[in-house]
């Protein structure tokens, strides 16, 4: 479970995040929805503990990432905005490196990588060097690397960005399976359809603030719109008019 309590973050004069609060429950997919530059990535970086909030606090399974980053990160799997791989290492070596840094080794690590290999259908690329992989292949390796330690909480920052239809579907299947396994999944996106198709709870962020929390039906009722996209536009724009 991840709790975000009224966090704020400024870079000089830029108030990237002003007031964001939400709770992401276990066995649920929580969507962070917002236009580009709304503060999603900054919020997520505070959840990792890479950035320290100016105010408020984050709680990951009882750990504050700002104070206990190591403990918080042990129960966190993350696919950040930038998910670069090591081009001269093979897919397996890339995944194994992060597994080892998570404290795994030997047969346990090997079995887990084989499992992920099966799950993400990477048989053809697992022993190849990453250099020259397609976007979709890179994404598979990155996601495998992020969840190699089988974390209870998973944060995915725009995970389907730039993927083709097949890979996107595979990714969605994986996300649902993680939910079924009882994980707390947080998904950030600026794509309405994706969020509405996957998420149990949606947190709409605009201009560094949470403007609405709920599910698709609630948003439509709140705004009086039939269509989710219209509802989203209305939610985001209403905020800017204030």
């Amino acid at each position: 479970m991840i709790k975000v309590d009224n966090i704020a973050k400024s870079f000089g004069d830029v108030h990237a995040v002003q007031a964001v609060s939400f709770t992401a429950l276990d066995g649920q997919i929580t969507g962070l929805l917002g236009p580009n530059g709304a503060g999603k990535s900054t919020t997520i970086r505070m959840m990792y503990g890479l950035l320290q909030p100016d105010r408020g606090r984050v709680d990951v399974d009882g750990f504050n990432p700002s104070v206990q980053p190591v403990e918080a990160r042990k129960c966190l799997g993350a696919l950040p905005d930038a998910y670069g791989l090591y081009p001269r290492l093979t897919a397996r070596e890339n995944i194994a490196y992060f597994g080892q840094l998570q404290g795994m080794s030997g047969q346990v690590l090997k079995r887990r990588i084989d499992e992920l290999n099966e799950l993400l259908d990477m048989k053809e690329i697992i022993s190849r060097r990453v250099d020259g992989f397609s976007q979709g292949q890179r994404m598979k390796v990155s996601i495998a690397r992020a969840i190699v330690h089988d974390p209870k909480n998973v944060i995915l920052d725009e995970p389907t960005n730039g993927l083709d239809v097949m890979t996107t579907r595979a990714m969605r299947t994986l996300i649902r399976r993680m939910k079924e396994a009882g994980c707390c999944v947080i998904l950030s996106s600026h794509i309405m359809q994706e969020v509405s198709a996957l998420c149990d709870e949606i947190v709409v962020i605009a201009r560094g603030k949470v403007v609405a929390t709920g599910n698709v039906a609630e948003f439509c009722k709140l705004t009086g719109e039939e269509d989710l996209e219209e509802a989203f536009v209305k939610l985001v724009c209403e905020d800017s008019e204030k």
Binding site: R45, A78, A82, S142
Partner: protein
């Protein structure tokens, strides 16, 4: 997993990555080969110019005017060549073209002047801007000087005067230069190449592990792992140290092989450069290798991009070469403050070892101490940078 095991994981990954990186390998191998190659080329150029051995072969114009002088020259081992037609008419042109180093012209009046006891003229035509000509010229001058004084002595004796009158001074030259001290220019260069290797061989891997990691976008996922930043810093640093060590050892190996191949004795040089000296040099260079890796990692971490890091690190490579360049032009007197300057201290100590002198323990400990403190400082700052928000501020 324990702290050290995690460090090993990071170092192993960086080394694997480094050894698969052709650019990193190339830069690690270039420096060890560059030094010995340059020294070999320089020394063989010098030795080809300094052919001290071998007879002097000199064309002489007008041999018929001075049969006694000619006999004396032949006795002294000078081979007299018969001049060509052109040498008789225009000897200057022959020398200017470089066909002959020296042409001796005995004047037509030589015989008459000699009989009359007035100075008889011999002209030596040469271009002394060439080093080989200088050597030949001084040898020829010495032979002619000997003839000059012998005739002078005979003339004085003929007049009943002791030749001692013309020697108010008895000048003794005692040259204390040993072949080893004469080699000092080359010594300074060996130190310089060793320092270059310390900074050059690990440069690429240092950039790749920091600025490269950022540029590829793999730094953020890496920092999300549940390990303290000092694990990453130490692991990455160890991998640069391994590359630096390989570079240092290769450099010393290539240098010692080159030194044993070169005809140093013919040049009047002698270097003590065996396994024992190599080990000592490695021991001296070690702290510098530690420091070079740490400093380069720190700079490349702070740099905004791969290219920027490359610019910084190329500049840092030139700085440690400065003392070496100065020293090879004008050997410096080692003083204690030099020990406190990284690279300069190592330069001085390298020369000491190769000259066969003992390196003072306080000199060694000051130099090593300074390097270690700076290494620790750099690594600490780098840890701070990686665990701060610096890299993620917009």
């Amino acid at each position: 997993m324990s702290f050290w095991k995690l460090i090993k994981v990071v170092a192993y990954k960086e080394l694997l990555d480094g050894f698969r990186d052709r650019r990193a390998l190339m830069s690690a191998l270039t420096f060890p080969l560059l030094g010995p190659l340059m020294i070999t080329v320089m020394l063989s150029v010098i030795s080809s110019e300094e052919e001290i051995e071998g007879p002097l072969e000199i064309p002489v114009v007008g041999v018929e005017h001075a049969p006694n002088l000619v006999r004396f020259l032949e006795e002294q081992g000078v081979l007299l060549e018969t001049p060509t037609e052109e040498m008789l008419t225009d000897p200057h042109e022959v020398v200017r073209r470089g066909d002959e180093a020296i042409v001796v012209d005995i004047s037509e009046d030589y015989s008459a002047d000699f009989q009359d006891g007035v100075p008889a003229t011999i002209t030596l035509i040469a271009d002394e801007s060439k080093r080989s000509t200088q050597v030949a010229m001084s040898r020829l001058s010495a032979v002619l000087g000997a003839y000059n004084s012998r005739i002078g002595q005979l003339r004085l004796l003929a007049r009943g005067i002791s030749p001692q009158v013309l020697r108010p001074l008895n000048i003794h030259k005692e040259d204390l230069a040993t072949p080893q001290t004469r080699a000092s220019n080359i010594l300074e260069m060996i130190g310089m190449f060793l320092i270059m290797a310390a900074f050059g061989c690990n440069m690429y891997i240092a950039i790749d592990a920091t600025a490269g990691e950022r540029e590829r976008g793999s730094l953020e996922p890496l920092l999300l792992q549940p390990i303290h930043a000092r694990v990453l810093v130490l692991g990455k640093w160890l991998s640069t140290v391994v590359f630096g060590l390989i570079g240092g050892i290769l450099t010393l190996f290539c240098l010692s092989v080159a030194m044993h191949q070169l005809p140093l004795e013919n040049l009047g040089l002698r270097l003590v450069f065996g396994v024992r000296e190599s080990a000592q040099l490695m021991f001296i260079a070690m702290p510098l290798i530690l420091f070079a890796g740490a400093a380069q990692l720190l700079l490349a971490t702070i740099a905004k991009s791969f290219k920027e890091a490359q610019t910084y690190l190329s500049a840092t490579m030139l700085l440690p070469m400065l003392p070496g360049l100065f020293a090879s032009m004008k050997p410096m007197e080692p003083s204690i403050w030099m020990a406190a300057v990284p690279a300069l201290g190592q330069q001085v100590m390298t020369s000491m070892v190769l000259r066969g002198e003992t390196v003072g323990i306080e000199y060694l400990s000051i130099s090593t101490g300074v390097c270690c403190v700076l290494t620790g400082g750099s690594l600490l700052i780098m840890t701070r940078v990686l665990s701060s928000e610096y890299l993620f501020q917009k």
